[in-house]
C-alpha cells in the first residue's frame, strides 16, 4: 500500500491533469467519428468507438504520468504513478463516453446528472487523500516524541529519513520499500524512550533500545516491515565472528549508515564535515557497513552537492 501523500504538489497535479484530459479528448476526436467538443456524433451513431476511448484513457494516463515525472524527478517511479492515475482517467473516460451517449437522448439534463458518478469518485479520492495525509502526519508526530523529550537531536529523524529514502532509490528499491525505509528512519530512535532519562542512553545497549522501539511499532500492526528495519538498525554487516550477516534487511543497512552520518555531522561544536564523516565511516566499510549501501549513500551526498 502506498503511504505517501499526494503524488505531487498541487501546482503540478492540476496542469498535468488538464493536459492529460486534453490529450485524451484529442485522441478520441481523431480516432473516432465523435467530436467531443461540440458533443456531436458524426456519421454512424449506433455505436461508440470503444477502441478510441480506451486509447484516449491510456494516452491521458501516459501524459499525466510524464508531467509528474518531469516536474518531480525525485518522486515515485513511472509504474507507481501510472497505477495510481489510471483509475482517475478511467473514470473521466467513462464519464465522457456516457455523456456522449446520453446527450442526444436526455438533452441538457445530461450535464448536471452525468457529473454525479464523477462527484462520487472525486469525494472518495479527497477522503483518501485526507486519510493519507493524516497517516503521514501521525508518523511525523510519533517521530518527534524523542526530540521533544530531549532523547535525540531536533531534526535528526527528518534528515535521516530524507537521506535513507534517497539512498533506497539509488539502490533501486521498490517504491513500497523506499516508503518503509523512510518511515523506519523517522521512527528509529523511538526505542530510546525506554531510558530513564536522556543522560542514561549512552550507557545502554543500543540493540536493546532498538528492539524496544521495534516492539512498539510491531504492536500497532499498521506498518508491516518497518519494525524489522528498526530492530536491526545497529546490526553489523559482518558480525563479530567474521560471518556475513546475510539476513540483515537492506532497510536496516541504509538506516544504519544514514543515522551515523547525521550523528557525526550534526552534533553541535564537535560536528565533522561531510568529508571527515565519510572518511571515518569508510573505516567500517565491509565490516560495520555494507559497501554497496555506503557507495549509494556517497552518491546521494555528491548529487546533493554536500
Amino acid at each position: 500500500m502506498a503511504r505517501g501523500k499526494h503524488l505531487a504538489k498541487r501546482s503540478v497535479r492540476l496542469p498535468a491533469r488538464l493536459l492529460a484530459i486534453g490529450a485524451g479528448l484529442g485522441t478520441l476526436a481523431i480516432f473516432s467519428n465523435l467530436d467531443p467538443l461540440k458533443v456531436e456524433v458524426h456519421g454512424s451513431t449506433s455505436h461508440l468507438a470503444v477502441g478510441a476511448l480506451t486509447l484516449g484513457v491510456l494516452i491521458a494516463t501516459a501524459v499525466d504520468t510524464l508531467v509528474h515525472l518531469i516536474a518531480e524527478p525525485e518522486g515515485p517511479r513511472a509504474a507507481t504513478i501510472a497505477r495510481r492515475l489510471l483509475p482517475v482517467h478511467l473514470s473521466l473516460g467513462s464519464a465522457a463516453a456516457l455523456f456522449l451517449l446520453a446527450k442526444p437522448v436526455i438533452g441538457f439534463a445530461a450535464y448536471p446528472l452525468l457529473l454525479a458518478p464523477l462527484l462520487a469518485t472525486f469525494h472518495a479520492f479527497r477522503q483518501l487523500g485526507q486519510v493519507r495525509r493524516t497517516f503521514d502526519q501521525t508518523i511525523t508526530s510519533l517521530a518527534r516524541i524523542p526530540e521533544i523529550a530531549g532523547y535525540s537531536h531536533v531534526g535528526h529523524a527528518r534528515r535521516v529519513s530524507e537521506l535513507a529514502r534517497a539512498t533506497g532509490k539509488v539502490l533501486r528499491l521498490s517504491d513500497k520499500d523506499v516508503d518503509a525505509v523512510g518511515i523506519a528512519a523517522r521512527l528509529h530512535d523511538l526505542g530510546r524512550m525506554q531510558a530513564q532519562q536522556p543522560e542514561e542512553i549512552a550507557s545502554l545497549d543500543p540493540s536493546a533500545l532498538a528492539a524496544g522501539g521495534a516492539s512498539v511499532v510491531r504492536m500497532s500492526g499498521a506498518l508491516p516491515g518497518v519494525a524489522t528495519i528498526i530492530e536491526h538498525q545497529h546490526d553489523r554487516f559482518i558480525d563479530d565472528n567474521g560471518r556475513l550477516n546475510e539476513n540483515l534487511p537492506i532497510g536496516s543497512r541504509i538506516v544504519h549508515v544514514a543515522s551515523i552520518f547525521d550523528d557525526l555531522t550534526a552534533t553541535g561544536a564537535d560536528a565533522h564535515s561531510t568529508e571527515e564523516a565519510l572518511a571515518i565511516m569508510d573505516r567500517g566499510r565491509g565490516r560495520r557497513f555494507d559497501p554497496a549501501v555506503l557507495d549509494a549513500f556517497t552518491r546521494v551526498l555528491t548529487a546533493r552537492g554536500k
Binding site: 446520453a102 469518485t121 469525494h123 502526519q137 521533544i148
Partner: protein
C-alpha cells in the same frame, strides 16, 4: 428493565412480522403485475448481486454500496415486480459475504424487499408509464424518501430491540446523516434506468466504472483510517506501558467523556472529537522521562515542572495532525482548574475550553473508581460525592452535574479488578503516598503546590 428473554421474543416477533409482510409483498408484486421481462430481471439481479458483493463496510459499520442505484434503475426499466425480484437477488450477495446468523439474513432480505417495493411502487404511481423528466425527478425523490424511511427505520427498530437502546436514538445517531446519499443514489438510479431504456446496456458499463473506482478509493481510505486508529491505540498503549497505574484508563475516560459531551447537547461529530482528545489526553507523558514518571517517591519541584509539561507536549504532538486540530484544547488544558490554579496556562471558569473541562471530570472520576497502586478504588457514590465536593474549586460544576446525570441515566461499569492487576509489583508498596500520585486521585482544595502532577 427488559429481561433478555423478553427482548429476544419481541425481536423474533418483529422479524417474523417483517418476513411475512415481505413474502406477501413479493407474492402480490409477481401475481399482480403483467408479463415480466426475465432478461432484464437477470441483468439487474446480477448487478444488484455485484453491488452487494463489492460493498465496503467502514469500521463503524456503515456500508458504502450502490445496490439502491441498481434497484431504482430496475424500477424505472421494469416497474415494481421486476425491481423487487432483482433486489432479492442482491440480498443473496449479503448471504455469501458474511457469516451472520440466518435470522439476520432473513431480516435483511425482508427489509430490503419491503423498502424496494415501497420505492418502486411510488415511482411507478407518480411517474406513470411515459413520464416527463421533471415528473420523474419528483417521483424518484419520493421513492428515495420512502426507501430511506423504511430501510433505516426497520434496521433501527431491530437494533433497538436487540440492544435495548431507544429506536429513535439509534436512527438519529447512525442513519439520519445518510439521507442525502439515498437521494443521490436514487437520482443516479433514475439516470441509469433512462440510459438503459434509451441507449442500451452498454451505457451501464460506462456508468458503473466511476462508481467502482470510487468504491476502491473508499476502501483504501477505510484501510488507512483503520491503520491510523491502530497507531493511536498503540500510542495510548505505550503511555500505559510507561505509566503502569493507568491500565485501560484512557479508553474508559474517552468513553465517559463522549457520553458527557453528548449530554451537553454536543453533536455526534463534536462528541467524537472530544472522545479522541480524551483518549489521547495523556499522550504527552510519552515525552516525560521515565525517571520522573515512574519515580516511586515524592517528586522534587523540578520534577513536578517536568511532569506538568506533559499537557503541552501532548498538544504539541497532536498539533502536527490536521485531523486532531479540534481536540488540541482538550489535551492541553485537561489539568486546568475551575478556580484558575491549574496548569499549564492557569485558565479559570468558562475560560477553560469545554472539552477540557469534560475530560478533567471524566479523568478524575475514573482515577477515583479504579484501584491504583497507592489507593483502593472508591465506590461510585463516593466518587460522585468527591466530585461534587470539589465542584466550583477544582471542577466545572456543570460538567460534574452532566457526568452525574450521564452515570445515573446510562449506568457505568466500574473497571474489573483483573483489568488493573498488571501493575509493577514493586510500585505497589506503602511508601507510595496518595498526595504525590495523580492530582485527581485525591482532589486538592489547597492549590497546585500541594504536589499535584
Amino acid at each position: 428493565m427488559i429481561s433478555k428473554r423478553g427482548t429476544s421474543i419481541r425481536l423474533g416477533a418483529f422479524i417474523a412480522l417483517c418476513a411475512a409482510s415481505a413474502a406477501g409483498t413479493l407474492a402480490w408484486a409477481v401475481l399482480a403485475s403483467g408479463p415480466i421481462d426475465w432478461g432484464a430481471v437477470a441483468l439487474f439481479g446480477v448487478l444488484a448481486l455485484l453491488a452487494e458483493t463489492f460493498a465496503v463496510t467502514t469500521a463503524v459499520g456503515s456500508t458504502y454500496s450502490v445496490t439502491f442505484v441498481i434497484t431504482i434503475a430496475a424500477a424505472t426499466v421494469m416497474g415494481p415486480a421486476g425491481a423487487v425480484i432483482a433486489s432479492l437477488f442482491g440480498t443473496t450477495g449479503i448471504l455469501d459475504a458474511s457469516k451472520r446468523p440466518p435470522i439476520k439474513h432473513l431480516f435483511n432480505a425482508s427489509q430490503i424487499v419491503l423498502a424496494t417495493a415501497a420505492a418502486a411502487h411510488a415511482l411507478h404511481l407518480i411517474a406513470g408509464s411515459n413520464p416527463s423528466f421533471g415528473r420523474s425527478l419528483g417521483a424518484v425523490t419520493v421513492a428515495a424518501a420512502l426507501n430511506f424511511v423504511l430501510n433505516t427505520g426497520l434496521v433501527s427498530k431491530a437494533i433497538g430491540l436487540s440492544t435495548g437502546q431507544p429506536t429513535q436514538a439509534v436512527w438519529r445517531e447512525q442513519f439520519l446523516g445518510l439521507a442525502p446519499a439515498y437521494l443521490a443514489y436514487a437520482l443516479l438510479g433514475l439516470l441509469l434506468g433512462i440510459l438503459h431504456v434509451a441507449v442500451g446496456w452498454g451505457s451501464i458499463v460506462f456508468f458503473l466504472v466511476p462508481l467502482f473506482v470510487a468504491r476502491n478509493a473508499f476502501r483504501s481510505a477505510i484501510e488507512l483510517q483503520d491503520a491510523f486508529d491502530r497507531v493511536v491505540s498503540t500510542l495510548v498503549a505505550a503511555v500505559e506501558h510507561k505509566d503502569p497505574y493507568t491500565s485501560g484508563h484512557a479508553e474508559r475516560v474517552s468513553r465517559l467523556a463522549e457520553r458527557v459531551a453528548r449530554s451537553y447537547g454536543k453533536s455526534p461529530q463534536d462528541a467524537r472529537a472530544i472522545r479522541y482528545a480524551a483518549l489521547m489526553h495523556d499522550v504527552g507523558k510519552l515525552a516525560v522521562h521515565n525517571a520522573v514518571l515512574q519515580k516511586p517517591s515524592s517528586l522534587t519541584d523540578n520534577e513536578h515542572q517536568h511532569m506538568r509539561r506533559h499537557t503541552e507536549h501532548g498538544a504539541e504532538l497532536a498539533s502536527g495532525i490536521d485531523l486532531l486540530a479540534g481536540v488540541l484544547d482538550g489535551i492541553r488544558h485537561h489539568h486546568e482548574r475551575w478556580d484558575g490554579l491549574g496548569y499549564p496556562d492557569g485558565l479559570a471558569g468558562e475560560g477553560i475550553p469545554l472539552a477540557a473541562r469534560i475530560i478533567t471530570v471524566a479523568d478524575a472520576f475514573d482515577a477515583m473508581t479504579s484501584t491504583r497502586a497507592y489507593s483502593r478504588a472508591r465506590t461510585l457514590e463516593e466518587a460522585l460525592d468527591e466530585l461534587a465536593r470539589c465542584a466550583g474549586t477544582q471542577f466545572d460544576p456543570s460538567a460534574v452535574a452532566a457526568l452525574k446525570r450521564t452515570i445515573e441515566h446510562d449506568g457505568w461499569t466500574l473497571p474489573d479488578e483483573s483489568e488493573l492487576t498488571d501493575e509493577d509489583p514493586c510500585h505497589a508498596t506503602s511508601h507510595h503516598e496518595p498526595d504525590h500520585g495523580h492530582a485527581h486521585t485525591a482532589p486538592h482544595l489547597t492549590g497546585i503546590s500541594h504536589g499535584s502532577r
